[in-house]
Amino acid sequence: MSDWLIALNAIVAREALRFFHQRGRFLSALVRPLLWLVVFAAGFRAALGLSIAPPYQTYITYETYIVPGLVGMILLFNGMQGSLSLVYDREMGSMRLMLTSPLPRWWLLFCRLLAGTGISILQVALFLAVAAAYGIRFPLAGYVAVLPALVLAGLMLGALGLALSSTIRQLENFAGVMNFVIFPMFFLSSALYPLWKMAESSAVLRDICAINPFTHAVESIRFALYAQINLSALGWTAVWTVLLLALAFRGYDPARGLVARKA
């Protein structure tokens, strides 16, 4: 195995081990989307009528509609949680140690993002299993076809988190920044309501939703779950992933916490 793959393997294994040690994080990651599915969706089912639009070929329940959005929510929260963990590691020094490896810095950061994405996908799998038990099922092929869309979306949101973490000088500032990112990103997307529904209320809001990278991620997941490809959504997700990865790798400064303390 090459040095690069040995490092990837070790970083993924370590992050997985850390995640399984944090049972609270595992439970909250599962409980959050389930609450939305069982409580929020039940309340909104009566209020929101959904017409037939691709990838759906018949009328669907609101719960069925929001499952891909909640999958996206898991990836979004984990992406941000991953960047919090990166800031924490930077403050605690373990990131400094990792970056003394002779491997390229971008590769080490990519490994961290990939590890975070892998953990998110495990949570998504568990969530989809619970959703299936709740009666919301997708074609079998969809459960396989969704994997590439999940990897791409997970990397995109992880890279966004990493790029944001580069702007944060201290751990204490992180929660505030996250609130300004997670909630607008989630609510101004197609996760909870289709774009045509949003257009009925406001054309401007609909346009904002349409350019939100999270909307593209959710739509690529939605179509993939029905074993279909939404080329536009997938393409935009890929473009955003590359852009955000480039921004994150370029902006990452392992000394940021150190410099902030000394300056």
Binding site: I6, G93, R96, L99, L258, K262
Partner: protein, 245 residues
């Protein structure tokens, strides 16, 4: 080949100059103490040598490899122990070491063999299966030193590795690292502000307010004075207030 070369190095945090025209060399097999009070610029120098900060003024070369031009080759030659502990407390000693070995591209049997060897060398073999959280401060530090040796680096950089340890642990670790330099020919740079960790035959670089005040063999520099008295007098000279009135 010189193990470590620092040449006309400077660094500033914004308007605050942390290092100014710092130059020294350390030969293979030498134990060099970078002695300086808190705030002298020792940790900044370490951050530059490990490429956490980008070198903008001057040059650092590790075994002939310029850290700015050939970072991969240079980083492959150094083992680092940072001032701040960087072990994963919930993992065992062995798991911590195998993670770091993998970051250096070492895995499987080769990693297991190296881990066994370095733990033996540091007298930590019987602790291999213990969680780091359950180790005392001295053993944690030894684990970090063992980790820094896993890839058999030519240069060891240790940033105040005995901070917070009791006298016995400090003496044991200092003695281990002196032996490493002597027995294995490694170049050792040991940052400290504690003069009792140095021997007369050690190379000494006195750093104060980001500048090298003195460099040479410790015993020669101190002359007839005790090292701590010499250290205090040299740093006090620089801090003496300007006469007023």
């Amino acid at each position: 080949m010189t193990g470590l070369v620092v040449d006309a190095l400077g660094y500033a945090y914004g308007a605050k100059q942390a290092l100014r025209d710092v130059s020294f060399r350390v030969a293979p097999g030498r134990f060099c103490a970078l002695l300086g009070p808190n705030g002298a610029g020792k940790s900044t120098l370490f951050a530059l040598m490990t490429r956490l900060f980008t070198t903008s003024q001057g040059r650092i070369a590790i075994m002939g490899h310029d850290i700015a031009r050939s970072p991969r080759r240079a980083l492959g030659q150094i083992g680092v122990v940072f001032q701040q502990p960087t072990l994963d407390l919930d993992l065992t000693v062995t798991r911590n070491l195998s993670y770091f070995a993998a970051l250096q591209g070492i895995s499987g049997r080769r990693a297991a063999g190296r881990i066994e060897a370095v733990l033996d060398r540091l007298g930590m073999r019987e602790r291999a299966g213990e969680r780091v959280r359950d180790l005392n401060g001295g053993h944690r530090r030894r684990t970090e030193i063992a980790r820094s040796l896993l890839h058999d680096p030519a240069v060891l950089l240790l940033d105040e590795p005995t901070v917070g340890l009791d006298a016995a642990s400090r003496a044991a670790i200092t003695s281990h690292v002196h032996a490493l330099a002597g027995d294995t020919g490694k170049t050792v740079l040991w940052a400290t502000h504690l003069t009792d960790e140095l021997r007369d035959t050690d190379q000494l670089v006195l750093l104060h307010r980001g500048q090298v005040l003195a460099e040479g063999e410790s015993g020669m520099l101190r002359g007839n004075m005790k090292l701590d008295a010499w250290f205090l007098s040299r740093t006090a000279e620089e801090e003496a207030p300007c006469p007023t009135g």
